[in-house]
């Protein structure tokens, strides 16, 4: 090969490279996510360089500041009109900055902040060897019940890594509903999932159960991710792109500039339908819809209760956000293909969640099945495929996440010698011994049941109305029937708390620090405010109901 030829090769190769534009990243508009990721990285550094004694305080401080700052950034963006008039797609088409994204990010950040309070709670467990301890294992790597664990407890170790893990998960959740291409979606999915798998394994008590839950969650999560990835591959094959906008164009048939290499597979509907089904399945797994729900009860029960509360609330918000965007932005033209299928999923989810919950005897499992039923209710709103449907779902998610965190926070308070007393029989007569805690829990249960003057009613009403107006009246009928079934087990717990005699040697209610109290108080306040005066927030969600394309 001559030098000239080499040279020409060199230059021809170099030419296109010189034409690559520098990626344009709107850092300001992505600031909520960036702040959280930055704080998570700082948290890692804290673990590495800050003395063990001070780590807890440093971590809590950094996390709280980061979440607040991120929330402030979201509010600033929304105030700057990025939720409505200036909504657009940022970061080279990877991330959408629009109303639903900002609304969901705000919800996730607030839920994470409240969740952080429950993570940071250190007064519930009795102090071990003079050290205050939280809900997390002293040393996650030690064998449960082994000598290493005893030594770690004795040394007063705590797993302060939970805080950066929490922040990483939050960062993934922030991107998840805003992702505007399939790869970003997948990355966000993994970023939010992996820390959660770890967090699930970190319970201080009942460690074996906790580790079992984590393994199950990880295995099944990985399995679901595989389906998701396969679906993404098929969709790429269909559209020749992973961008939502591009796929939507191909679906509509308005695409231009097709790469000839892809012409054979492009527009093959089988690829689209199968890919879509698999991708949706991955998201349904995350929201815990039947038949992809089976991890939920085991994981909710085994995970440390603060993690359960956070996961149940924030993951659901993020995953429903992603599902909404996928169905509204990518598939509006395919409505009649996915709607009936989603109908089936919603119906089965509502009914199965409500029915199986009836016979549960563990409060955490009960709440897990309740969350499955709620996933069904929210799906009913998703299926409405109207703007009202979007805002109803947004409202529902906001109300639901605070009820959930609050309810799980109450669960952490009811304890006996073995840690949290989660068997329902132990909750008998709680209302006589601790009327305030029982009353607060009753408020949350009523909100779950959708009784008027709670956020649950306003949310359910909005979702069902949107579904009915969107032509899904039978779904609403099933939803109301499921609500009636669900009301049975919620109210049974109330009856148990207030009208049964307390057990001898029953659990006691621990007095929490202001952290958990704040979490519970915020939960009650949001529940009541959204229930009594929902209109302002409905309007807010209504303004945020349009996806940018």
């Amino acid at each position: 090969m001559s030098a000239a030829a080499v040279h020409s090769l060199w230059t021809t190769a170099a030419d296109p490279i010189s034409k690559i534009d520098a990626p344009k990243i709107e850092y300001g508009q992505l600031s909520p996510t960036l702040i959280v990721i930055g704080a998570a990285l700082i948290g890692v550094l804290i673990e590495a360089f800050v003395p063990r004694r001070s780590r807890y305080y440093a971590q809590v401080f950094v996390s709280a500041v980061a979440l607040c700052a991120a929330f402030a950034a979201v509010v600033a963006l929304a105030a700057g009109g990025y939720g409505t008039t200036k909504a657009h797609i940022a970061a080279m088409g990877a991330v959408a900055v629009d109303g639903p994204a900002l609304f969901l990010e705000g919800t996730i950040l607030l839920a994470a902040l409240v969740g952080l309070f429950t993570f940071a709670e250190r007064r519930l467990d009795p102090a071990a060897h003079g050290n205050r301890v939280d809900s997390f294992a002293a040393q996650a790597a030690s064998v449960p019940g082994g000598e290493g664990e005893q030594a770690a407890v004795k040394a007063g170790f705590t797993t302060t890594e939970v805080f950066p893990l929490l922040l990483f998960a939050v960062a993934g959740m922030l991107v998840f509903p805003a992702a505007n291409d399939l790869l970003t979606l997948f990355v966000a999915l993994e970023v939010l999932s992996l820390p959660l798998y770890l967090l699930c394994a970190l319970a201080r008590r009942k460690r074996l159960m906790s580790q079992e839950a984590a393994v199950k969650y990880f295995l099944l999560g990985a399995f679901a991710s595989a389906f998701t990835l396969f679906g993404i591959a098929l969709l790429y094959g269909y559209a020749g792109s992973v961008s939502y906008a591009r796929i939507a164009q191909v679906v509509d048939g308005t695409v231009s500039g097709v790469d000839p290499a892809l012409a054979n597979t492009m527009g093959n509907d089988a690829l689209l339908l199968i890919g879509m089904a698999l991708l949706v399945m991955g998201l349904l797994f995350k929201v815990g819809a039947v038949p992809f729900h089976m991890w939920t009860p085991d994981v909710y029960q085994g995970a440390p209760t603060p993690v359960t509360g956070f996961m149940a609330a924030a993951t659901k918000v993020a995953a429903f956000g992603a599902l909404l965007r996928l169905l509204y932005v990518v598939l509006p033209g395919l409505r009649w293909d996915w709607r009936p299928v989603m109908w089936g999923v919603a119906i089965v989810t509502m009914l199965a969640g409500a029915i199986v919950a009836i016979t549960q005897t563990d409060i955490k499992r009960l709440l897990a099945y309740s969350s499955i039923a709620h996933a069904g209710f929210i799906l009913a709103g998703v299926i409405a495929t109207t703007e009202d449907g979007v805002s109803a779902v947004l409202f529902y998610l906001a109300g639901y996440s605070f009820v959930t965190i609050g309810a799980f926070a109450v669960v952490t308070l009811v304890r006996d010698a073995g840690g949290e007393a989660t068997h329902l029989s132990q909750w008998a007569g709680l209302g006589r011994r601790s009327p305030l805690v029982a009353a607060v829990f009753a408020v949350f249960l009523l909100a779950f049941a959708g009784i008027p003057l709670t956020s649950g009613f306003a949310g359910k009403f909005a979702v069902f109305r949107a579904a009915a107006e969107g032509g899904a009246a039978p779904l609403v009928v099933v939803g109301v029937i499921s609500s009636a079934i669900a009301a049975f087990f919620y109210i049974r717990v109330i009856v148990l708390m207030f009208f049964s005699d307390p057990q001898p040697n029953g659990p006691t209610v621990a007095v929490p620090s202001p952290l958990t109290m704040t979490a519970i108080a915020v939960g009650v306040a949001v529940t009541v405010v959204l229930g009594v005066a929902p209109q302002y927030f409905l309007d807010l969600a209504g303004q945020a109901g349009v996806f940018v394309r």
């Binding site: 393994v215 199950k216 295995l219 099944l220 399995f223 679901a224 389906f227 509907d269 089988a270 339908l273 199968i274 879509m276 089904a277 698999l278 949706v280 399945m281 797994f285 039947v290 038949p291 992809f292 089976m294 991890w295 009860p297 085991d298 009649w336 293909d337 996915w338 009936p340 299928v341 089936g344 999923v345 199965a352 029915i355 199986v356 919950a357 009836i358 016979t359 549960q360 079934i485 049975f488």
Partner: protein, 648 residues
């Protein structure tokens, strides 16, 4: 001047509020406050009346819009008052008679320690009744309608320590509820038919609605009227309502409230005019009640119950007249007004008698009282002459007109209704003469016997004049009681002639109710003659039975009809067998259905879901592998279903 209308209601309402909330510190002056405010309302009424008279007949409808009450989309309910000739007539009757009875009650209730509360209730009644007749729409009328029902309930049961009074109050309330259902359904029908329930548009467009609709509305209004005005079949409460203090019987259960049904029908004239079937039912109800009340009145020995039967019968006349349509409306109201005078007078007279007789109500223990209470005798006697239709007195004019109008209805209907009305006149003459003779004539039957039986203690306030268990010493009542009686007697005597001369009343009311002359098959003179014959027959028969020979102090067994009439023609037995028993059976069967079917379905479905839950739960076996299989199956299903949807 329109702005004064609200004042009519505000004055007694203020009285009610002040007296009922004012507490014991008002005990000393409460009765005067009540009377004063009632009189104030009457004065305002007179001023407004003068104002109305100053206008042309066409411009005598004034309205006063107070505020918008329930503005919800098409559903517009306003608090608007309407004063026209019809409501003006009622206002004067209500406030006039009402004020007189307030005055009377000062003496009558003198020894009752809850007198302040009594006057509070009376004022409440006045306010509600005025709202009823002044309302400009049916919904607001309904408020007044319920308000008078409440006041009636409170006043019948005023002596609540007596179980009979408490029961009577409850009975009146319950029976009235049946009628109220009719009114509420009528209002709903109006709203669906006309899109409004304001008098103006409803009555104006009544002609546009189908006859079926109008008949339905008319019948429902009639049901309401039956309840409030004690017409068959909802008549049973009125007799028992006499448990209330006598002024209440005079004001509410004779002169005003019980005539609200007549007001309702006449006010809704446009609806009834378009529904001949409903009108026919109205006349039938009126005719039946007319005879029913009269027959019951013949057999009662309790003076108040005899008068109650008479009230029922007289309202029957009014309802009959109102059912005749434009030929009868004016006369219904005219009889209503004259009846308000003489019946209130009669009741006050009865109260005066009881006041002097240790609260004895059994006429068989009266006799010869004319010497002991001359004023009562004269005023009661004038009321008596008025009600039987003695020529020249007010009842003569108003009742005669109704009988004429009944004949003028024409056809077999006219003959039957006219005949019934004539027969009623004869019976009226009979039972009223009986009351008169048993009370004021003959030998005293109250000597040498204690009148108050210890097991039926009464709170009527006469006890201190005599020993509670001693022989009564009949005496005339104090002046606060006799003055109202005298005023009412004047009205009973002169009212009819005043109204009739030059057809004054007809010209006054005609613009509101409309009027047409019927074509009577009999001349007016013939009818009057026949009425006179009936009158003489009735009086003669009564004299033969109660005047010529002494009245036995204990009631003889009597004929089948007498015994039936004493038991109110078995109205309560009928209600008990049909409604109470029927109701009990219905509830029992409903309870059975509830226990077996409803609970069965509920418990069954609960058990079903529970079982299903237990079975589904087993799927959750804790193995990650089976979870994964379920996910895989789910994914396969999802894909298959999506593809299937495309294929379909």
């Amino acid at each position: 001047m329109e702005n004064l209308i609200a004042l009519l209601i505000a004055a007694p309402l203020l009285g009610a509020v002040v007296l009922l909330l004012g507490g014991r510190r008002l005990d000393a002056v409460g009765h005067w406050v009540g009377t004063l405010l009632s009189t104030a309302s009457f004065v305002v009424g007179l001023v407004l009346f003068a104002g109305l008279l100053g206008k042309d007949a066409e411009h005598r409808t004034w309205t006063q819009h107070l505020w918008s009450w329930i503005p919800v989309g098409d559903f517009q309910a306003d608090v608007t008052l309407r004063l026209d000739q019809l409501s003006m007539t009622f206002v004067l009757l209500i406030t006039g008679v009402g004020s007189l009875i307030h005055l009377y009650s000062i003496g009558y209730m003198e020894h009752d320690e809850r007198r302040r509360r009594f006057f509070g209730y009376l004022n409440l009644f006045l306010a509600a009744m005025l709202l009823l007749v002044l309302a400009d729409n049916y919904l607001l009328l309904y408020v007044g309608w319920e308000g008078v029902g409440l006041a009636s309930y409170l006043l019948i049961g005023f002596w609540q320590h007596k179980p009979s009074a408490a029961t009577a109050a409850k009975k009146a309330f319950l029976v009235n509820r049946v009628g109220d259902v009719g009114l509420s359904i009528a209002i709903m029908l109006m709203f669906t038919t006309f899109g409004t329930f304001a008098f103006g548009p409803v009555l104006e467009h009544a002609g546009d609605a189908s006859e079926g609709r109008l008949t339905a509305i008319g019948l429902m209004l009639l049901l309401a009227a039956c309840g409030k005005s004690a017409q068959v079949p909802l008549q049973s409460w009125l007799g028992d309502a006499m448990e209330g203090p006598t002024p209440v019987s005079a004001l509410i259960h004779a002169a005003t409230m019980v005539t609200a049904g007549v007001y309702l029908i006449v006010r809704s004239a446009a609806i009834f005019n378009g529904a001949p079937d409903a009108q026919l039912v109205v006349t039938v109800v009126g005719g039946v009640t007319l005879l029913f009340g009269a027959i019951v009145g013949c057999a009662k020995d309790d003076i108040k119950k005899a008068l109650a039967g008479s009230t029922m019968s007289q309202i029957g006349y009014m309802v009959l007249a109102a059912g005749l349509g434009p030929i009868g409306y004016v006369f219904a109201i005219m009889h209503l007004v004259t009846h308000g005078f003489f019946k209130a007078g009669l009741f006050l007279g009865a109260g005066s008698v009881m006041h002097g007789m240790n609260d004895e109500v059994d006429m068989r223990k009266y006799g010869g009282l004319r010497k002991y209470m001359p004023i009562t005798f004269v005023t009661f006697g004038l009321g008596y002459l008025a009600i039987i239709g003695f020529p020249g007195l007010s009842g003569f004019f108003s009742k005669d007109k109704i009988i004429e109008a009944a004949f003028a209805k024409g056809g077999a209907e006219g003959w039957i209704l006219g005949g019934v009305a004539l027969l009623g006149a004869a019976i009226t003459a009979f039972y009223m003469t009986r009351v008169m003779l048993m009370t004021f004539f003959g030998e005293p039957r109250w000597k040498n016997q204690p009148t108050k039986s210890p097991e039926a203690p009464s709170a009527e306030p006469a006890a201190e004049h005599q020993g509670a268990h001693g022989e009564p010493h009949p005496h005339e009542s104090p002046r606060t009681m006799t003055i109202p009686m005298i005023v009412l007697a004047v009205g009973s005597v002169a009212g009819g002639a005043f109204f009739d001369v030059g057809d004054r009343f007809l010209h006054w009311l005609e613009p509101v109710t409309g009027h047409s002359e019927g074509h009577s098959p009999l001349s007016a003179l013939t009818v009057t003659g026949a009425t006179m014959v009936c009158l003489v027959l009735g009086v003669g028969l009564a004299w033969a039975q109660y005047g010529r020979k002494p009245v036995p102090a204990h009631a003889p067994r009597g004929s089948v009809l007498t015994r039936a009439a004493r038991r109110d023609l078995y109205q309560d037995d009928f209600n008990h067998v049909v409604l109470v028993r029927g109701g009990e059976h219905l509830t029992r069967s409903l309870v059975y259905v509830d226990h077996t079917l409803v609970d069965g379905v509920v418990n069954g479905s609960a058990a079903g879901f529970g079982g299903l839950s237990g079975r589904l739960r087993r799927v959750q076996n804790g193995f990650a592998r089976s979870y994964a299989v379920s996910m895989f199956g789910g994914a396969a299903l999802l894909v298959a279903a999506t593809l299937l949807m495309r294929a379909v």
